[in-house]
């Protein structure tokens, strides 16, 4: 679905993306995980034709993003990180505008808008001005808008950022449903639990480079399935990774008494990130 080869983007002295190679397969939910400033949004902007790369190639469904932008633009839908709705228009008018931009004709346009507003449970708000909607509703409207031309590829840039836990889980369900209905989903996130809950495969990006790629399970297996977190006086926590619980338990029993706090738990993608970079995903 997406092939990225040696993609590089340089802003002045800053190399935002460095020789990125990546393939995203049809039908998967792919998560691009990394801290703020890692290069996720820059990569996404290049994939969606908003930014020109400094070098490298990108193909979406066989179309070259650089030389065939008009063909590529019809193949994907995008939900941006920030709210990008026309807040002076109603829910229906926002959908209508987007449908017209995608050259969808009269009767079909009205049918699809009604269908999609129903899909994201916003039918009863069709005539509301967007400004008056809640954050979760605006996000759902952005998803509906991105689906108006029935794209087989969806880009979601930090789709749940700033939303409460309940709304976030509702959106996760919607993303799973879209994937089951046949859409390939490429999402960027810095929420570990989001990547683990949703993605079939995850790519971890750090300082513009892809440092790990695989399913959440494969990535956890790379560092060890069990983590022991220890805390001594006046020190930062130490992380130790083990292939199974038995090995972790044996290690815990061997620890000296100065170690005040010991936590044994399943490893997660945060541990993968810490092990590979020496810092946490949320650190800036």
């Amino acid at each position: 679905m997406i092939i990225i080869e040696k993609l590089t983007k340089v802003y002045g002295e800053v190399r935002a993306v460095k020789k990125l190679n990546l393939e995203v397969y049809s039908g998967e939910i792919f998560g691009f995980l990394g801290p703020n400033g890692a290069g996720k949004t820059t990569t996404l902007r290049i994939l969606t034709t908003l930014t020109k790369p400094t070098s490298g190639c990108v193909w979406i469904k066989g179309f070259d993003v650089i030389t065939q932008p008009l063909q590529v633009k019809g193949e994907f839908g995008v939900v941006q990180q920030h709210l990008s709705l026309d807040r002076e228009l109603t829910v229906w008018e926002n959908m209508e505008l987007h449908a017209r931009l995608h050259h969808i004709g009269g009767v079909e346009r009205r049918r699809r808008i009604a269908e999609l507003l129903d899909y994201v449970e916003l039918s009863q708000y069709a005539n509301q001005i967007v400004e008056n909607l809640s954050g979760g509703m605006k996000r759902r409207l952005m998803i509906a808008r991105a689906l108006i031309h029935r794209p087989k590829l969806l880009f979601l840039d930090e789709p749940t950022v700033g939303l409460d836990a309940q709304t976030r889980r509702r959106l996760w369900e919607l993303i799973r449903r879209m994937n089951l209905d046949g859409a390939t989903v490429f999402l960027t996130t810095h929420y570990i639990e989001e990547a683990e809950a949703l993605c079939h495969r995850v790519g971890i990006i750090y300082q513009g480079q892809l440092i790990a790629l695989g399913s959440p399970l494969e990535l956890r297996q790379q560092v060890g399935m069990t983590t022991v977190e220890t805390l001594s006086d006046n020190k930062d926590p130490d992380y130790h990774y083990f292939s199974d619980r038995a090995a972790a338990t044996a290690y815990v029993q061997s620890l000296p008494p100065e170690v005040k706090t010991i936590t044994t738990r399943d490893s997660n993608l945060e541990d993968v990130f810490v092990e590979l970079t020496g810092r946490k995903v949320g650190d800036d």
Partner: protein, 217 residues
């Protein structure tokens, strides 16, 4: 509102009893104010809306990601300026006809329409280049405001020394004022000025295309 204030201050206040180029100052200044109205309304309607969409609502990216060519996009974004510019100018034209005898022929519409297009393209270009809302205000202060007072709206260029005339003729509004004034005063039509308006319009349009192509794919 500002065209009416200009009319009151310059047409009735300062210019009462004055004659310019053999006609009353009121007859002289009204076509200039119509050109000025077309400029400011077209620029603000196209530019300010795009600036807000781009930097505040951030919904312009959505349009950039749609399968629409840059040419269609720029034309589409400019048409709101053209439409509003035409409506407001025509309303002011009706007021002008009511208070001062003016000859209006179909030839009046052509430079007016081209003026609206030219300044709409200029507004779109400024909005595409602006990095903040303040940039638009700065552009207005540095470009539109000097044009307002130097663009042949309030005085005749024939009164100026040759060196200053050159400066006046590199201002698009001067050409708009001259075309509209020539029609309403029954003077020979300045076709070169009409060509200049087209030239400025094309330059701004090409500038918009280049800025869009430079930024996105």
């Amino acid at each position: 509102m500002s065209p009416l204030l200009y009319l009151l201050a310059f047409g009735y206040g300062l210019g009462r009893g004055m004659e310019v180029e053999g006609v009353s100052y009121l007859e002289f200044v009204i076509p200039g104010i119509i050109a000025l109205t077309a400029m400011t309304t077209s620029f603000n309607s196209a530019g300010m809306k795009l600036n807000v969409d781009r930097l505040f609502y951030k919904c312009f990216d959505e349009i950039l990601m749609a399968p629409v060519s840059p040419l269609s996009l720029i034309l589409g974004k400019s048409l709101i300026g053209v439409l509003r510019g035409l409506i407001v100018s025509l309303v002011f034209l009706i007021i002008g006809i009511a208070i001062s005898p003016m000859k209006v022929s179909p030839l009046f519409i052509l430079p007016l329409l081209l003026t609206c297009f030219t300044f709409s393209f200029m507004g779109v270009l400024a909005a595409l280049l602006a990095k903040s809302h303040q940039d638009m205000a700065t552009f207005s202060s540095l470009v539109l405001l000097p044009m307002t007072f130097l663009g042949g709206t309030f005085f005749s260029s024939s009164q100026l020394p040759q060196a200053l005339k050159v400066i006046l003729y590199i201002i698009p509004l001067t050409h708009s004022s001259q075309c509209l004034r020539a029609v309403t005063l029954g003077q020979p039509f300045p076709w070169l000025s009409l060509l200049a308006i087209v030239g400025f319009g094309l330059a701004f349009f090409v500038g918009c295309v280049m800025v869009l192509r430079r930024a996105s794919v």
